[in-house]
Every structure is written in structure tokens, then in C-alpha cells.
Symmetry: C2
Subunit: 331 residues, 2 copies
DNA sequence: ATGAAAGCGCTAACAG
DNA sequence: CTGTTAGCGCTTTCAT
């Protein structure tokens, strides 16, 4: 087994000296330093992180928990996180939970178990008390998806206001029969986006129909296609659709395309997120742009606040969003 | 500090007994067991993984190194990896390198440093000797991108044969002026796909022109759009394009769309990977389907072979691929 | 069935 | 400038 003792022995010095060389303390004589470095590179020695982290009780590792990486939405947030984390000389471990509570728990335990110094959490914890308890003792930031009832710092956007804006845009374009393709309402964001949708309709006295309110437990293209199929079979067909995710909206557009229908002439479509693909569709997708990179970098900054000054409270933030108008709603 | 000693003290037993309870050894008296469990849950104790892993010298953690998560191509491979890894009671840490050698090195060192038990590597290592050296001592599998000169197990597809097939399809459809939108030729896959492209053209005696051979250092939609812009300005405009990645192909399609051109009437386009988005474009994209999930799960199986029987060699594999013909090449 | 104690690899306080 | 040593939290062998 190659360890610090072996290196010390080979170099004819003590383990303390080797440790000093490894950590660049500068208190080692030039000659000794070189001697030790030579042995290190000859043996190809790398200090064992477990020993070091155990001793230092820090890992300089941040865990980022996402439901999935198949939604490009997360890619840009993670990029924002990475850039800040790297600047602080930490590294990111990305973990996917598939929104399964048991997997969330296993990963969150890594923080308790000192494997990582903190966690940015983008998934709704089903066991709310567990998450709160973790956050009480360790650095935890909620990102995008959050729970207002908990006392855990979060960063997100105002989903209600954003979806209100999206639906109002459709209303402004003259639509009166507007459907919503939602995801699963166990998610806070889904509830909020529905709230904004309803608010806009109510404000303008427009009809709210059950057959225009669709839910999806999965968030993928197929779900969007299926939802559109249902809407096209509705007794009273909507003329516009608000999808709470670009993924769903793109699936919906595809389904229209398959049926020989055009957006926005036949049905207008608005998405949410502004993932890079949203501008690649034909027609290009009108959508709500979330400041994804900013969300990620803010989340990371908040986490470091918590790591560096655990006792000072970190304030939560809701960032601005922007309606990006493209062809799918514009004649 | 909450540790095994504290628990032992509170429960009035020795640390050894607590350890036995934690690890379910079954050799503890029922009564003692319950007493200890009560204390554990009261104190909300979680064993420190650093201590445990240091002692056991295993982490039950697998690292997966990808260049980026913004290409959905990786999402499905990672899914395949996850499913196998989870079955073995391990967990996956995903790390993004942006194809930067220094970042690759930092993460790869985590294997040497005993933080993880093995690594699946999907990025070209710039420091080839370093990777070989790591693979000589620790479990390493190359996935998708690999280096034939190294003695490291890999799993991928036959890129040359696949791109030959894609280009031959275009030839069969009557095209004689065929361009290639490639990525950076530092990548093995890029070199191989170009090779297949050239082979098909040569075999059919078709012209090979420099202005039809484009390279991109970045792999994103913009790169695809830019490449298409260049091709549309070529002295001799191609009638078909082979893009080595769906991302590039979709960007190219978008650019055509912006210029009022249709695929395949004006220019036919073939992509590569068959990411989910490829069937969502309008027109839908003809592409080479890689068995992404299978690639991932095979990679994980190979890694566990290496972990469980380090001295037995693991044989590399090239999996089959399939040409998926869609609207972008079919009248 | 339980406890005492060694030791995994490392760092840092202390001594010299 | 360098060495000795305690101890981070855990598991396991050896006693009892």
C-alpha cells in the first residue's frame, strides 16, 4: 500500500515532512523538498483524500442534486454553479435522483456523512422534515424547486407571475380559449404556474375548463405529444396552449405538425424555460426565459455563504424572468 | 461532534457494539440492539463515511466523467450506467470536464485518492500516459471516445462504419455533392467519422472538396448554424450534408429554415446519435442511432468486472448502430 | 454477547 | 528545519 509512510521511508524523512511538502507549507528546506518530491513522482504517490478529509473535516466537494440531466434546463444551471464552485477551489459532484425519495435520501446522507461539504438541491424532497433537519445542521440551498414552508434558503423565479405573464401574452394576441399543459402538481412550480394561468384567465373573464387543464407525471416529449393529442380531441378545442416546460411545448408542437396543423395559425403555443432547443424548433417557440446561469451561480454563492459563515442567515431570492416572443405565438 | 463514541456513551455500550448495530451484523443481543437504535435515531446519527471508507478502503462510489451535460446524448448513456451501478449497490457521481485536461486530471485523481472506486471516462484524455498509468492501477473504462493505442477497456460503436453507412444513404438517394460538418479532429470519433465519409465518397467516385469539409471546435447549435451558413456560400453548393452530431445537424436545419430552404428538397441532412430531439425537429432528422442506454450499461458492467476481478482482462466492445431514416433525407 | 485496542492515511501541535 | 505523536471516525480481531 502506497501511503505517506512509504514515501517518508523512501525519502528518509518523517511523515510530517512529507505532509509539509504535499501541502506546500514552505517551511521545508529546499534540498529536503526536492528529495521528497522526487520520491513522490517516482512512486506516483497521491495523498489519500479520505485520510486527509477525515483529518481536516472538509472535502471541498459540493453535491448538486438534480432529478435528471435529460432536461437541458439543468445543464445551464449547473454551468452557473460550476463556475462559482471552481472559483472557490471546490469541485462539483452531480447526482441524479429521478425524483425518487429514497435516492434523494441516500445522496443527502452524504452530506451528513461528511463526504461533501454542502448540497444544492433542485428536486422536491418528499420527506420535508428530513430536509429541514439536514439544513439545520449542514449547508443546503434549494434551487428552482423549493418549499416556502421550510426555513431553507432558496433561489428561484416567481413562477406565478411568470406564467401569468405568459398567459396574458396569449390573451393579448386575441386568444380566449387557452389550455395549460402542466406537469405533476406535487411540484411547487407546477402549482404556482397553474395559479398564474388561472389568475390571468379570471382577470380577463375567460372560460376555465377542466378539459383544458392537463397534467403529466413524466416530463418528456411524449407527454407533450399526448397532451396535445387530448386537446385536439376536446369537445371545445383551445386556440392557444401554455405548456409549463419547453419540453412539453416542443412535444405539443410536434404533434400539431403530425396532424398537419400550424402554430400559431391553428393553435398558438407558449413554453417555459427557454432551453437552447426552444429557438431551434420550426416554428420557433415563444417561451419564458429563466435566467438559468444566474440562478446557478447565485445558488452556489448562497451555499458558500452558508459554508463560510454557518451562523449568519442567508436570504432567499426570486430572480426576474423574461417573455421571449417567437413564431409559435406570432402570426 | 456527533460520532460513534458519543452514541456508545449515550447508549452505555462500547463503540464496537454500536458499529455492529450500524452494520447489522446480527451478533448483538436484541435488547442492546434496540437500545442503541433508539439512541441513534434520537441523536439523528449518521456514520461518517470518511472514517468508514478509510477503514474499509472502498467507497462504493463510481465516478462518471463527461465533457458536458448539455448534449442529451450523454443523458441516456448515464441512465444506462446508473441502472447497473445502482443494482450493485453503488452510487454514481457525475463530473463535467468541459474537455479541459486540468479538470480531467483533478477528477481522475479522485480515483487514486480513494474517493471513488472506479471511473467511466467519456472524454479524450489529453495526457494519454497519465490515463494509461491510472488504468494500470485502478478500474477505468473508456466509453464512446477512446484511444486504440492504449491498453484500456473501452465500449463504443464503429464510427467509421456508421458514418460510411450514413453517407452511403445519401448517395443512394441520388446525391453526389455531399458535405460533412465535423467537430474537432482531436477527437477520435471525429477522425473516424470523417474517414467513413471519405471512404463512401471514394468508393462511389464522388468529388471531395475542401469547402465541403467543415470543422467546429464547439459542439452546439450555433456551430451547426455557422457551418450551414458557410456551405450556403460555397462556390459549389452541396446537395446533402452529413453532420457528425445531431446537435450540429439541428443547427444546420435551423439555418436552412431561416434562409427559406427546405430539407431534403434543397439540401438533405443526416445527423448522428439519435438524441430525443432528433425526431422533434421539423422536418424530422435522419440520423445514426447509437445504442446509448446499452453503451452505458455495458460500460458499467465492464467496470464492475474490473473492480471485482482486477487481474482478469476485460475485453473491449464495439456495439451496433442503426440508420434511422426520417424526413430530412426522404422526399 | 460485548469490550478493548489496533490501525486505515493524514495533519498539526509540540518538541527539539 | 524536522521528527514524534495524538487523533479525526470507523471496523474488526482478539479477549473475555
Amino acid at each position: 500500500m502506497l501511503n505517506i509512510h512509504k514515501v517518508a521511508e523512501e525519502a528518509g524523512v518523517s511523515v510530517a515532512t512529507v505532509s509539509r511538502v504535499i501541502n506546500n507549507q514552505g517551511t521545508v528546506a529546499k534540498k529536503t523538498q526536492e528529495k521528497v518530491e522526487k520520491v513522490i513522482s517516482r512512486l506516483n504517490y497521491e495523498p489519500n483524500m479520505l485520510g486527509r478529509n477525515l483529518r481536516n473535516s472538509e472535502s471541498r466537494l459540493i453535491m448538486v442534486l438534480v432529478p435528471t440531466i435529460s432536461n437541458p434546463f439543468y445543464a445551464q444551471i449547473v454551468q452557473g454553479i460550476e463556475d462559482i464552485v471552481r472559483k472557490e477551489n471546490y469541485n462539483v459532484f452531480l447526482c441524479t435522483t429521478d425524483s425518487e425519495p429514497e435516492r434523494e435520501k441516500v445522496f443527502l446522507d452524504y452530506v451528513r456523512q461528511k463526504l461533501t461539504d454542502g448540497v444544492i438541491f433542485m428536486d422536491p424532497a418528499v420527506e420535508v422534515e428530513m430536509l429541514q433537519d439536514l439544513a439545520n445542521r449542514y449547508p443546503v440551498i434549494q434551487c428552482c424547486e423549493y418549499n416556502e414552508d421550510l426555513n431553507i434558503p432558496y433561489i428561484s423565479i416567481d413562477d406565478t407571475q411568470a406564467s401569468y405573464k405568459a398567459v396574458k401574452h396569449l390573451i393579448t394576441m386575441g386568444h380566449e380559449k387557452i389550455a395549460i399543459i402542466n406537469s405533476d402538481e406535487t411540484f411547487q412550480y407546477a402549482r404556482n404556474r397553474k395559479k398564474g394561468y388561472l389568475k390571468a384567465l379570471e382577470e380577463y373573464g375567460l372560460p376555465i375548463k377542466d378539459e383544458w387543464i392537463l397534467k403529466n407525471s413524466e416530463l418528456n416529449f411524449e407527454a407533450g405529444q399526448n397532451s396535445m393529442r387530448k386537446l385536439l380531441r376536446a369537445d371545445d378545442k383551445p386556440t392557444a396552449i401554455f405548456a409549463v416546460s419547453d419540453i412539453l411545448a416542443i412535444g405539443a408542437l410536434k404533434r400539431m405538425n403530425e396532424e398537419g396543423l400550424q402554430a400559431p395559425e391553428d393553435i398558438a403555443v407558449v413554453g417555459f424555460d427557454n432551453i437552447p432547443f426552444a429557438s431551434m424548433t420550426n416554428p420557433a417557440l415563444t417561451t419564458i426565459a429563466q435566467p438559468m446561469y444566474e440562478i446557478g451561480s447565485q445558488a452556489a454563492k448562497m451555499l458558500f455563504q452558508k459554508i463560510n459563515t454557518p451562523d449568519e442567515p442567508v436570504s432567499s431570492t426570486l430572480l426576474d424572468n423574461e417573455l421571449i416572443i417567437r413564431e409559435s405565438t406570432l402570426g
